[in-house]
Symmetry: C2
Subunit: 492 residues, 2 copies
């Protein structure tokens, strides 16, 4: 009998063939009968695989002739190039992340937003609201005493049990006692940084990276050393190695190895293994933020970098925010050999988390419903992301570049050279469209012509209009610079 995921594997195979150029646009896919014979699968598996490819926009059905490879608009958009230099950005070039984030947050709060392409989260409909609601209601009904009792230390044991079980799926074997529950991945990152480094210390991060990481580092009086990273492979192992040799004051490396925000990169397994070994050799702890690992397109969940850690040198941080419960503020960490210090810092920073939310989350996360939810979410994200990429490819001006990621919630879009994404952000905001300007993701000015655009919702006609409008704004701004402007099809 076919395994349930076989059709996805089959579709993935042909997707790869198309992406790698083995199958070219307008070429015919093997017939369903052929697929059955070649791969020894059932009729329904072969048909489902074709349908998946069609839904994802890789092939189109032509009546009575079969499936043909589409020329997706996105194929016309150039990828973001690899970083040119391996040299890290000097933290002395700081321009102040606090100020930029506060001003971003204040501007967003001051403008009513009708289309939000600024977040790194999917639309609320994509999350299992009813299951969470039922689970919370059940806890409240059966254990209302939790509301009036001081909270137990280190987090709810049942929730930590489920977290330990789910960790097996990313290659981690930890006992529930080795997990500390936190208020979001944000608190987990803060505790991890404080456990391994002191104010004044240098922390290596990807460049660009999630602004929350830069802000945590800055707010703790530490200095971010930005290591070149690419949308293809994430942080360059060579660049990190170079930095570890030249900067002796690096006290930790913070990484988002899977579906990086904003790059979308997944670090190849070899690189994960090399970084684990390299950092162990240098006795520099790694803080791994795996907020997005479960949002993979391919059938296989990417492994945690920590699964190559032999000495407890990697602190693994997770979150419920992106995957199943954005409103619950739940995160966790597996602190490796810093467990005692992290436990102490959690107690000193906020005390243990309240119980009701943890128990409800455990119920949902411990059930098959969680797997079904993730399967559905991942399928939606793949589809939505491709729709957004297609729309960008169509309506952004020539010179726009984008490397389609293979999972996650965001797109990292390079605008034509010289285009100010801060200006684009401001102009779009005035029309009720929110995006995140590239300047939020680095202390250098290096990404001032990048936008992070959310791909966490379907491209409805309204969303499409917003992206087109964004394209026009970008084109206007790009035209104001030296780069050529391609006439937008939306500007007759």
């Amino acid at each position: 009998m076919d395994t349930p995921r076989l059709y996805l594997q089959l579709a993935g195979r042909y997707r790869q063939a198309i992406e790698s150029g083995t199958l070219l646009p307008s070429q015919r896919l093997p017939s369903v009968r052929n697929l059955m014979r070649t791969h020894d699968v059932s009729l329904s598996t072969a048909l489902q695989a074709c349908r998946v490819l069609e839904e994802q926009g890789w092939v189109e059905a032509r009546p009575r002739s079969g499936y043909f490879v589409r020329r997706p608009a996105r194929s016309t958009i150039a990828p973001v190039p690899e970083p040119e230099s391996l040299v890290a950005i000097n933290p002395d070039d700081f321009v102040g992340m606090h100020h930029r984030i506060s001003s971003y947050v204040a501007k967003c709060a001051a403008h009513p937003v009708s289309i939000n392409l600024g977040g790194a989260v999917a639309t609320p409909d994509a999350y299992p609201m009813e299951a969470l609601q039922r689970a919370m209601a059940r806890v409240l009904k059966h254990q209302p005493g939790l509301l009036v009792r001081a909270v137990p230390i280190h987090g709810d044991p049942g929730f930590r049990q489920v977290l330990a079980q789910r960790a097996l799926e990313v290659g981690l074997q930890v006992s529930p006692e080795e997990i500390v529950v936190t208020y979001g991945c944000t608190e987990a990152l803060n505790l991890a940084l404080r456990a391994v480094a002191q104010p004044g210390d240098t922390i290596a991060v990807e460049s660009p990276t999630y602004f929350g990481i830069l802000q945590a580092i800055e707010s703790l009086g530490m200095r971010a050393l930005e290591i070149p990273a690419s949308p293809q492979h994430g942080m360059s192992v060579e660049a990190l190695s170079l930095a570890l040799h030249t900067h002796t004051d690096i006290k930790a490396v913070v990484l988002v190895p899977n579906y990086h925000n904003p790059l979308g990169s997944v670090m190849p397994d070899e690189d994960k293994a090399r970084i684990a070994a390299l950092c162990a050799r240098h006795a520099v702890p790694v803080i791994e933020d795996d907020s997005y690992g479960r949002l993979h397109d391919e059938p296989n969940l990417p492994r945690a970098l920590k699964s190559w850690d032999q000495t407890g040198n990697v602190i693994y941080c997770g979150s419920a925010h992106k995957t199943f419960a954005p409103g619950m503020r739940l995160g966790w960490l597996m602190p490796g050999r810093w467990r005692a210090r992290v436990e102490m810092l959690k107690y000193a920073n906020t005390r243990p988390n309240d119980s009701v939310v943890q128990i409800a989350a455990a119920e949902v996360m411990g059930s098959r419903l969680y797997d079904r939810h993730l399967q559905k979410l991942r399928a939606s994200l793949l589809q939505w992301r491709n729709q957004v990429i297609d729309t960008i490819a169509e309506c952004f001006p020539t010179g726009t570049r984008l490397s389609p990621p293979r999972g996650g919630l965001v797109l990292w879009v390079e605008l034509p050279p010289g285009t100010s994404s801060d200006r684009v952000f401001e102009l779009a905001l005035q029309e009720g469209i929110r995006v995140a300007p590239g300047t939020l993701f680095s202390n250098s000015g290096r990404f001032s012509n990048f936008l992070r655009i959310s791909a966490g919702q379907a491209v409805t006609p309204t969303v499409e209009r917003a992206i087109r409008r964004l394209g026009d704004i970008v084109a206007d701004q790009a035209a104001g610079t030296s780069s050529p402007k391609k006439p937008s099809p939306r500007n007759p």
Copy 2:
């Protein structure tokens, strides 16, 4: 018509007369008829006042003769003396709060506890569980979308509105926008410290003080300068003034002006005003922790120190933990002129709080139910505290001292000189009785013969047995030292 609180005011008057020695044990209280005439109150007010005094153990009814002043056991216990010196404790004498707290927490976790006299919280039954449960259920039913939506910035507007209204009652006029919601008072204290001071800076605190304050300071790499404080008036204004003149590196003063943990002290209004002015003059910010202010015995809610603040120099921190919802992890702060910095630090540390809990708390805290709950809680606490004091007075050895506080949840008990409260703690724990040793409340060894004993529950026969047993353990330990041992009535 009598105001609803008149009988409490009347009872308070006679309580004071008894405490001050104006009315002596076995003297007769004025007759009900006399009370009506003297104070121009109704029969029911006079009767209620007498009943309150009787419940609180100040008077006893003798059939047909009226009410007579009791000789409470607690009147035989000597008060804790005022601190002898005004000189602050040098932070270089640090012995490491982290280690002591972690070891305390670990030991408590390792031993099953049957009687918990170690916490600074009332028994769960004393809190409005059903109201909180109903409010949460209502939020979940009507706004389940909150569970799957990223949380709004700075906290729920409705909750902040209620907090602003309730702040009026302690003399504070702030707009809802000037309030930041946090994960407990613990996070509020951390954010406040980080807003005004840097690692390496010195922070003045009461000596003794709540170990969470000492731990927060230590975990942030700051140094606690312990200023002498008494159970009568809290921190000595003279000692603080002296310290501000001699230590130029003091960057903040952290105070618990109302029902201090562990002292039980309330700072007199003049002292609050003087400290506000003194610190403003020295440009040293004050962090006020008002976790316990609403747990007053007297009819009047003590004013916040911040109500004397004219320049935004005082950061006011509050909590739902002690007053109405120990399991919800809700705190807040009014950051005065550090608002922008505190908002930024909250965002960097844990992101804004989740909404469901805030909205439910707002519903309860914004209703009359909250007032009724507090009234009942305060009456219970007064009664329970007196029961605990009476039991201690009866069964602890000679040389034990205690100053009965006028509100709050804890008692600060001085054991005969030389008695090790660490040892008492360990021995009691082995019998399932938890108390907090004095060593947790100072970085000096100054309080090693003190115990903090919870007064947050009724003295049932089981609790009474536990306190008696504790008295025996203390007597044994005291006997091992040079101090004389009074034969315990329980040790025949």
